[in-house]
Structure formats: C-alpha cells, structure tokens
Amino acid sequence: MNKIIKLTSTILTAFYMIACTSTVPAIFQETNDSLITYPDYQNITIPSNIMPLNFEVLNKGEKCIAQLTAANGETILSEGTNKTIQFSEKEWKKLLHNHAGEQLNVDVYLKDESQWKHFPSYQLIIAKDSIDKYVTYRWIEPSYESTGNIGIYQYDIENGGLKTLADNHLFKKDPSLGAYQTCMNCHNKQRNNPENSVFQFRAQGGGMLVTYNGETKVISTKVGDMEMPAIYERWHPSLPLIVFSNNTVRQMFGSRDPNKIEAFDWRSDILQYDIVKNEISYIIKTKGQSETYPIWSADGKYLYYCSSDTLFKIDKYKSMKYDLMRIPFDEQSMSWGAPERIYNASGNNKSVSKPQVSPDNQYIAMTISEYGAYHYTHIDSDVYLLNLTTHECKPIEALNSPQAEGYVTWSSNGRWLMVGSRKEDGSYARLYLSYFDTTGTAHKAFQLPHEDPLFDKNLLKNYNYPEFGTVDVKYTASDIYKILEDNAPVTPSFKGDVEKTDGNTGASIIKYE
C-alpha cells in the first residue's frame, strides 16, 4: 500500500513539474506593437545587486511569458498569470551576478485570442557598480496630514524586505477625533551609514532622535529663541556634528493652483548640534533672509544651503527665490567662514532646493522651480546637475518629467541617483533610480521594484524624503517607542551669540573657540 502511495505521489509530482515548467512558445507572430508595461523597465541600466524587476504587461492579451537571455545564452523565464511577470529571485540574482557589466535581452510573448505574439526585444544593461542595499523613506498621503498614518520605512533593494523604523501609530489617539497624531520625517545617516543617524518627530515630548556610537537619545531642539524644532538634519561626514534648519513652515491648498499644495517658510535659519558638547548654536541667523536645506560637501569642508529673501506677506510667497550658497567649515577649529553664492538662481528668476553633493564632490544634484523651496509639489520642478568645477548647471533629462520631481539623492558610490517623482499622476510620488556613469551622464530612470509589480499602483501614499543606506538600521519602531517612552528629551545648552554679520548676504556668522 505504501509503495502504491509513494509511486502515485512521485508520478503526480513529476506531472505537476512538467505541467508547470514554462517554455517560450514554439509558434508565435512577430509584432511591431510597442510593449507597454507597468512599471516601465525597458532599455535601462540596472545594478547587479537589485531584486527582480517584475512587471505587468498592459497590452491586450490573456497571458504572457518573458525571457531574459544573456550573451552566453543563459536564460531565465517567467510565465505571467494575469499578465504579471514575476521572476524567480534565485535565478534572477544568479543571472545578474554572472553577467555584471553585460547586457541582457528581454523577449516578451503575449497570448491574445489563442495566438502568441512576440514584441521587439529590449535590453537591460547590468552595471558593474552596485547600488546601496537599503532605501529609507517616509510614506505619507499627498495632503500631508500629520494625523494620518505616517511611517518611516527601510526597504531592501536586494530582496524587497520592508522594515518599519518609525510609525505614528505608536502614539496616543486624539480622543476628540479617534485619530492618530504626530508628524515625523527628516531622517539622515552619516555617509549613508545608519550606525550614526538622526530623525525628527514632533509628538509631545518629541525632538531629534540621535543615534551615535550605538546609543540613541532624544534631543529637544526647541531651545533658546528657536520658534520651531529642528528639521532637515544633516550629519557631518566624519564629525559628531549635525546641522539643521529651523523653519516656520506654512501649508496652503489653492483653489486653482496646478501645484495643488503649497508650502513656504515664514522664516528659517541654520543651526548646528554638537553631540559631544551637547550644544545647539546658530550657524546662520538673519532677519532679511531665509536659509534652509543645509547639506555637507562630501569632504565636510563646506556646508551648502539655499537662501532667499524672507517672506513678509503671505500672498508674496511666489517671490521667494532661493539661491545656492555655501559656507566654509574648518574641522580643526570648528569655525565657519564667510558665505558665498554658488548658483544664482534668482538671477534667472528661478529657485533652487534640496541640493545634494555627490560623494566625489564633483556635482550637486538639486531641484529648480519657479519659486520657493518646497518643490515636490511644483509641476515645473526638475532635477538639475551643477558641475562644481565648470559651474555649468543643466537639467538631468533622464530623471525629469512634465510633473514634479522632488527629493533627489546619491548612492554612497555616487553611481546611482534616486528621485521622488510624481510623473505617474501628478499627486502620488514614486521613487525612481538612475545610473550615473563616469562621464557624468544619467541613464533612463526606472521605478523602485517590488515583488508585486502592482504594489505602487495600489498604494495611495507618497514616497517622501528618500535616502540610501549601506547597512541595516539596527533599531526598529518598537525600540524607538521604548526610547520615547522611557527617556525624557535631553535639553542641550544653547549658544545664540552673534559675532559678526556678512556684508553681502546679511548672514550672521558665529565663530567658535
């Protein structure tokens, strides 16, 4: 009896395996129709360590097959149920690993009315340069309501694993609404390494969560004459020093504004937090200027930031034009030099925002729009590349679209750019990756992959404030919860003395002993 059962099960298993092994159809028709997929992964350059780029075929048909072929004939194949192609992760990784630096041919076959057709092949170029394993981002709805479900997540680009780093469901409900309440964002890591990291949350008793040398502390950043807590924190590349801006942000929803949501700063200044001294002090504090988005150069010798005339009337917010500035920093004396204008955007009736210095200090990627510093909702916002040697500034066409491009960031090797773009529908930002080669050219951007290719289609949230990460963040949301529950925020000492004012910009410059 046992033998019969064993034999039957072996036959059934074998039959099942034969029946389920897909092959490329033997008979098919060539078609010149364009293949339409979601997401669009055609003719792109990809890192060798990325997870499978699964997609859905949108052309009319019943089922489909996709085959990836390397130059040596090695292939992998996936048959799509409901026209959804999902490659085996194991096969995909092996193929990419074996053929880094080469090109893969992708053939897609679609069955429509009992006939298979073959679309023109397209290519995937596997770059030798890998991409940082992790991406961290915030999920928030495009109305930016702080009482909704907000969280900061770490996404593993190599296998699609998702880890919750912070979640506003931790916090107590507002009893009058039965809703959750707190805002959190502005996470940053020292050189993309979360060993030393920082993020901001605004619940009661909140502040800046600084993880340094394996210890996490809550630092109150509403000290001295600061009107608002810290935002846009940035670690110095090597020192225990965090710079941040202090913005009084206002949000507005217009009735006819194509940008849908508008945000602007009533005032903003730039400060620093010395972790060792536990001291907050101003770097730039001005009356007539608003300074925001500080960012270190890769060597830590300069601090770049955006600066505009201060807004005095709410209806004049479109007159805020930010220039790109920088201020030298001396690591030895911990002192600051005089600010200088690096890119005069206001002179071209434009405004820059969110500068990001490449790890080789050669370029600054930033967004340029007609006005303001909150470009992620501006339809005209595009990503530009400023060459710090030639001072040439041009748009990165491979990343841009007719819709808003916002947050842009570099991988730690400088070979990959990531941008949040609303190109799909003008409202819900998705993340796109682009290869940036040694000649300074960005390649066609492609959407951050997911195991379920329709994941982003079903998600009614924005990807906000993306950052690369090289290693796994050690803490989890529950650790954060416990830290917040168990520790009262540490109030640092505040140093607010202004020593001198820069004649050109009106910036107040403070020297430290």
Partner: protein, 594 residues
Amino acid sequence: MNKKIISRLSKVIFFIGVVLFLGIYNYDFLYQVGWKNYFLFNSFFTQQTISQSCGVLLYIARFLSLLFHYPLIGAISVAAVLTGMVALHEYLFDKRKSGFSFLPSILLTIVIGCGGWAIYARFEIGTFFALILGTIWCLISYLLYDKFLKGKNMAYVMLIVQLVLLPVLGVFSMLSIVMIAVEEYLEKKKGLLLLCYLLLPLGVAVGEIYVVSHFFYGESFVYALRMPLPDPYFTRMFVCSLCLLCCLIVSPLIKKIEIPVLDTFYRKFPFHSLVLLLCSFVLIYFVSFHETNYRSLMKLSRLCDEMKWREIVEQCKDIAHPTKGINAYRVIAQGNFGKECEKLFDVNMPLSPCSSPYKIEEIVYEADLTFYASFLAASYHQNMDNWVIYGESFRYLKNMTFISLLRGDDELAARYIYLMKQTSFLDDLADEYATYLNNKELLYKKYPICKKIKGNEVLQDVPQNVFANLAEYYLAYNRFNNDNLKRCVLAKLFVKDIKGALNDYLTYVKDKKDLYQYMSEAAVLYATQTNDDTYVKALQVNGNVVNKVVSCLREYYLLQQNKQTDTSELCRKYKGSYVLFYIMDTHKFQSIKE
C-alpha cells in the same frame, strides 16, 4: 398555544423587529456604513488588513459589510443571522426557553444601533460583523465541545486550536475557552482539562502582554487581546460589547442553574418571552443613538448623493432646530439651484444658534458643500483629509475620483478608478467613470449639474482656508452671469451683508423678480438700521412689507425687553420672511423701539 409555537413566534417577531429597526428606522445609517466601508480584492489590501491583530476576522467582516450598500438586504442578512444565533443559543443553553437566548442578539443589535457618529471617526466598520462572527464562533465551539468532544482527549486539541486562532479571532478565541472552562467547572470535572482550560488562557494573556510590551509596539498590538471590540472611546458600543462577552460567559450557567420560582413563573406565563422581547425593542430604541438631527443629516447626505434636491428642501422644511450641516444641505439644494432660490429663507429656524454639539458633523457635509460651491480643489482635499484622518472608505475614494475627473486630472482619476475596479460594489461605477476619462462632454451629459459646477469655478487662485461656509464661497465668485449673481446676492443675504446684497441686486441682477421679496425686506431692514431709506425708495417697497418688517422687529424687541425665551409665536407669524432669518442669532442689530 404551546411553548414551541411561542418560541417560534418570538423568533419571527425578533427577525421582523430587527429588520424594521435596522432596515427601515436605521436605513440611512446603514447606507452610510456601506459607504464608509472599504474592501478591495487585491493582495495588497488583503495583506494590509490581515496583518493587523484579529485581521482575518476583520477582513471577513469588512467583506460581509459590503451587504450594507443595500441597507435593506444588509438588515435582512443581519436579522437572519441574529435570529439563527438566538436559535443556536437556545438549543445550547436555554431549553426552558426563558428568553435569555435573545440577549446576545439584542446586545449586538444595540451595538449596531449605537454606531451614530462613530462611523465617521476612525472606527473599524468591520466591527459590527466581526462581533457577530465572533459570537457565532463561540457558540459553534461550544456546540462542538458539548456534543462531540466532552470528556475526550480531543478536547485538548480544541484548546490548542483556540489558542492558535487567537491572532485570528482575538477575544472570541479566549471567550470560547472560558465558556468551556465554565462548563467543565459546572460539570464538577476539576481535572487536568479544567486546569488547562483555566491556566492556559491566563498564561497566554500574560505571555502576550509581556511579548507586546517588550517586543512589539502600538495600540493595535497592545489591544490584540480585546480585538475586535470597539475602542472604549465609543463608550456605548464598548459597554454593550462587554455585556455581550459577559452574557456568553454566563450562558453555561443558565443551562445548569435551576431556579424553581422562575420555572413556575415560566409555566404560568408562557408569553413572558414575547413581553420580554417587546421590552427589549423599547430598550434597543432608547439605548441606540437616535438624535433627530443626526438622522436627518444622514438622510440629507444620502439624498445629496442621489441629487434629489427637491426632497432635500422638503425634508429641511420640517426640521425644527436645524444644525449647520442641515443648513448646508439646504443651501446646496436651494441656493445652488436657481429654481428653489425664492424659498431660501422659508424654513423653520430657531432663534437660538443652530449648532450641533457634535463637531464631527463637519465631516459629513463639508466636502459636499465645497463641491457644490464649485471649490473642487477644496472638496478634493477635504475628502483626502477625511481619508487620511478617519480612515479609507468607498465614499472618499468615489468622491476623489469624481472630483479628479471633473478637474480634468485624468491620470489621477485613472489611479482611483483602478482601485474602484477592485471592489465588488464600485466596479460598475468605475467602468462608468472610465468612460469619462478624456471625455468630459459625456460626463456633463450624464450629470448636467457638473457643467454648472465646473463653470462656476473661481478663476483666481484662492487659498481654501479663507472660506468658512458656502455663502462665503459664493462671495468669491468672479465669473458673473445672472444665475451666479442671484446666488451671490442670496449669499450676501445669508451672511447678513444686506448693503452688499442690495447694491449687487440693484446694479447687476437683470431679472429682479425672483428675489424681490427678500430684497424689499432687506431694504427696509437697512433703513431701520441706518436711517437711510435710499434702497426702500429705489425698490419702491410696498407699505405692507415695511409694516411687516417693522412689526417683526418691534415684537422681537419686546420679547427681548420682557426676557421671554419662547419665540415660537414670532417664528410662526413671520415664517419664511427674511427679517426673521436676519434677527436670528444676530447680536449686533439695532432693534426698533418706536
């Protein structure tokens, strides 16, 4: 009549009673529950819902809540299940047919009836069906134990199954164990099984609390043990749910305990269960949420969905103390559709402020108000804010889709339509909406009012938060045709800017007939307040109107002088006149002494 027939009759009465209570009396509430629900057939939604504590039960419950889209069908389904539950409970615990078996079902009916404003807050709509399903699970578990497993080793398996199902069934898995433990105790089997049944749940509870507090985070995990009970913030529902749990726990006791006096009573009065049932329905009515204005608002919201303007006007007429929300729907129906303009102030308005004690009322009407006032961006954001703050729902998804279509934001609309297609309720509507992508003429043909709404959009960019109500939205119109002008003038009257209204009326409005009644009253009012009779002369106001306005003001003044609060006679006498509307809740106006 024998006991059996009475028992059957009482079940039939219960079924009919629940259908009437939910399907007729709470028709509009169930309609809103249906629209507040959210359920998609996709792996993303499934994963998201199931991953929360008690997620599987809530997933099934949300699916079943789709029935509420057809309130009567929903009510009949709930009534049938609750009646079945009565029969099962009776079979298991109450062979004497004392009427106790109705209690769990009555409590569940009350929980639904207590929904009220909760459905607009961050309330899990699946709770209603989750409680019903959980109760059924407890009864079936007990049935399995009682009939097949009692005294056998399989009872230990049952225990393990219940523990394994804790994340799926939440509190109901523990409750099943407790019910069996009670039964074991009553059977005086103080053996190993009873010990297991008593200690294991306790151990699991302590263990889970330990694990939750040390390794997990967040309310949703902390409350895993009590899911799917409603949040204690919704007090009445929460208390009724606790009563339901208690009722189930004591059920095995009812089966065992014998009280001779009661048995005699049951024999003497076989109709006692019918009487109890009738009393229960009285209890259901009084304990459930039945505020008049809330019920009116639910109805008006539904009528607005169905674009039945005349019915809204009729409905509003009979409301004695309308709230802001009710007035909003009235203004939508009347002010926004010229034909009814002349009746704008013909409503029963109290002389006290029209305010609801429930701030949450705004969630119901605000997005509709801004939509029909042609502030599409504001309406879109209000829907999205509601989605974000109070949870995802079919209503907000549908509204965001429709507004995106109307604004010509087709790519965004396509994203929402893609989601709508994954529901079993909105898929037809999604197909219809898909035909409007890049074809607005088709949309205008199906919904002619939308052409008007789109046409009345303000041209300049105005921040949405500068407006407080529909009337103020109208004041911002800059594209004037005669219809808009009339609305603008009415809006000014509505916010009691009589000089502005008179100027606009005299300068711009071509067809002056429609508004003459109100304007002549406004002219007299203006004259009484400023001693300037320019407008009275310009409009050639009839002496009767002057007398009416003056006498109304004078009577109101006398009432104030005598500190009389009863203004019903005044309201009745001057019903429908603008002067009455004007003096309501106006503190700064000059009363006429002479």
